[in-house]
């Protein structure tokens, strides 16, 4: 009999990757210039985690997906207008910073507290998902700390595939060095998975799913708890854009044969 999983996905928002970003100094630490004006998207790897969660829930009747998200309430609302049309979930919103400069330990504490607050949480059926790294802080540290706070010692990072075995065990593929995957089986829940890309394409928008989700999204945003991140004990001595611009030599009107010879010679140089 399939397990009815409780799948909690942690995922925040990040500036649209096509935006030009510029750091600025503020009294509370570094931030992005015009941060609140930048269009935002769901963090890409967290998005993959959400789509994998929805797929797993669909295959296992009775399962449910929550999305726990820390971000400025207004920005969360904007992003949810799109994300909520993709797959069914219940949003748990935390009104706090989505900045890459926010301390991951403090974000993890808020996420873990929100997860523990889910009514009827059953750790024997619990899977905590998230992206293995964010596209903002990009440290790959938050999910492990969430897991520790929840007492989860079966953790996996860089996950590209999860399959449920006939005996209920999980078979998990994690990215390791050199384009390879480590294969593990996990005999029992709870477990935490930090997803890489996975194997699923982004689901198309489904207005019906959107309408169902929005019934819970708006109330969740209204009751979002405020989170203030203190960044205690962290000092940013500098934050800067890479200044290096190369003087590109443009080679035009050269035959493919000549270009090839030059490239082969360049490759061979130590």
């Amino acid at each position: 009999m399939p397990t009815a999983y409780q799948i909690v996905v942690c995922g925040s928002l990040v500036p649209d990757p096509l935006q030009t970003l510029e750091p600025v100094a503020t009294p509370t630490g570094p931030a992005l210039k015009n941060e609140m004006m930048l269009p935002a998207v769901l963090d890409p790897w967290a998005g993959h985690a959400l789509f994998e969660a929805a797929n797993l829930a669909k295959q296992n009747p009775g399962s449910k997906v929550w999305l726990v998200s820390v971000g400025p309430k207004a920005k969360l609302q904007q992003v949810m207008m799109t994300v909520a049309q993709k797959v069914p979930f219940e949003l748990i919103a935390i009104d706090g910073p989505a900045s890459g400069f926010a301390e991951s330990a403090e974000i993890a504490a808020a996420l873990a507290e929100a997860i523990q607050g889910i009514a009827g949480l059953d750790k024997a059926r619990l899977l905590v998902f998230g992206g293995w790294e964010s596209a903002s802080r990009g440290a790959g540290t938050t999910m492990q700390m969430v897991g520790e706070r929840l007492g989860i010692v079966d953790q996996f990072q860089g996950v590209d595939e999860l399959t449920v075995q006939p005996d209920g065990a999980l078979r998990i593929l994690e990215r390791i060095e050199g384009g390879k995957h480590q294969v593990s089986t996990c005999a029992a829940l709870p477990a935490l998975l930090g997803w890489a890309t996975g194997n699923l394409a982004e689901p198309p928008n489904n207005p019906q799913v959107g309408m169902l989700n929005m019934r819970t999204v708006m109330p969740a945003l209204q009751r979002a708890k405020a989170l203030k991140v203190a960044n205690d004990g962290v000092a940013f001595a500098s934050v800067s854009l890479p200044k290096q611009r190369r003087e590109t030599k443009i080679v035009k009107d050269q035959s493919p044969d000549d270009i090839a010879r030059e490239i082969v010679e360049w490759i061979g140089k130590e």
Partner: protein, 343 residues
């Protein structure tokens, strides 16, 4: 007074890998800069060969957690081992290589010990007697220098950021640190590694050259047709002859994921850039790549860069490559492969 713990896991043969040796160099520099003692903490099935390998590194103590249970790369046992080593060393700064194994586990250990962690660190330095580090934010788009007062401070140093330590081997006396395991620590079983066949392996972290293929390889060519089969042959042929590693733009791997008849060997593991990897190689050759600045972070850490593109104004290359050849990649790579084959 700081105490620096160099923390690493052994490879399958009991030795330390390149990333670990690079981190050891950084740990030594940090200890020297701070006037702090350096200790080594090792995890693995058998840590004595690794300890002997770095016997002359100047570590005051060699601590080890060893045994069959600690051979596999697994969160539950690795976290217990790392926690025990950090405690036994009374470390204030723990510096470890950002391998998949350490990346999986050390943030959890920092949480257990009430510490803080920074991942994907590119440099650890000292200034005015204080430790600091550099790391990138927003997917390699801005660089920060970070200092912390909270201890223990865990630092995961990215591979390729320091020269590998290369001192004399010797005989080190390893202090065994005991870790009590329960059945709960072994609910996860590592069953193996899944790798492409050796002739299909396109990701080679130690390669001297990164070859980046863009979506242009799948576009209509001057004869009005697409030539994905020839593109595959040219790219794989080049990778095989030049022993290069393959990177790809997001648009190209997305096409592959959508089941289009494109480059069958291309997966998301090859993806470089905003939502992919930013590998480190001495040289990079980008072909048929298009896109704006945010996409080009995939070769942020490539030293010498050249590009082949039909558009002289392409943002992939202008201001980012050393040389841009305005030419047809099919024609150039055909000839490159001929020349390499004749060598």
């Amino acid at each position: 007074m700081e105490t620096i713990l160099f923390l690493a896991h052994t490879e399958a043969d009991g030795s330390l890998g390149k990333a670990a040796l690079e981190t050891l160099t950084a740990a030594q520099a940090l200890a020297t800069g701070l006037g702090a003692p350096l200790l080594a903490g090792l995890i693995g099935g058998n840590v004595q060969p690794a300890a002997n390998q770095i016997a002359s590194c100047g570590a005051q103590r060699f601590l080890g957690v060893a045994g069959a249970e600690f051979a596999p790369s697994r969160y539950s046992t690795d976290s217990a081992a790392a926690e025990a080593l950090a405690k036994a060393a009374a470390a204030t700064i723990v510096i470890a290589p950002a391998t998949s194994r350490c990346n999986r586990v050390l943030a959890g250990v920092a949480q257990r010990l009430g510490g803080r962690i920074d991942g994907h660190v590119t440099g650890a330095t000292t200034a005015d007697g204080k430790p600091g580090l550099t790391r990138w934010y927003y997917r390699q788009r801005m660089e920060a220098v970070v200092q912390r007062t909270r201890r223990p401070w865990f630092i995961l140093l990215d591979p390729g950021c320091s020269p590998a330590w290369s001192g004399a081997a010797g005989t080190a006396s390893v202090e065994a640190v005991a870790v009590a395991l329960t059945a709960a620590h072994q609910r996860t079983v590592v069953t193996g590694v899944q790798a492409p066949a050796s002739d299909a392996q396109t990701i080679r972290p130690d390669a001297k050259l990164l070859f980046v293929a863009g979506a242009g390889w799948t576009k209509t060519q001057p004869d009005g047709k697409t030539h994905p089969e020839e593109a595959e042959q040219l790219i794989l042929g080049f990778l095989g002859k030049a022993k290069a590693s393959l990177g790809s733009t997001k648009s190209l791997v997305d096409l592959s994921g959508e089941g289009q008849a494109v480059l069958k060997f291309m997966t998301h593991l090859n993806q470089v850039g905003q939502t992919g990897s930013t590998p480190r190689h001495p040289k990079g050759l980008a072909t048929c790549c298009h896109g704006e600045e945010p996409h080009t972070v995939g070769w942020r850490f490539i030293n010498e860069r050249r590009a082949i593109n039909l558009n002289a104004n392409c943002s992939w290359a202008q201001g980012k490559a050393d040389v841009l050849y305005v030419a047809d990649s099919f024609a150039v790579m055909r000839k490159v492969n001929e020349l390499l084959a004749a060598k």
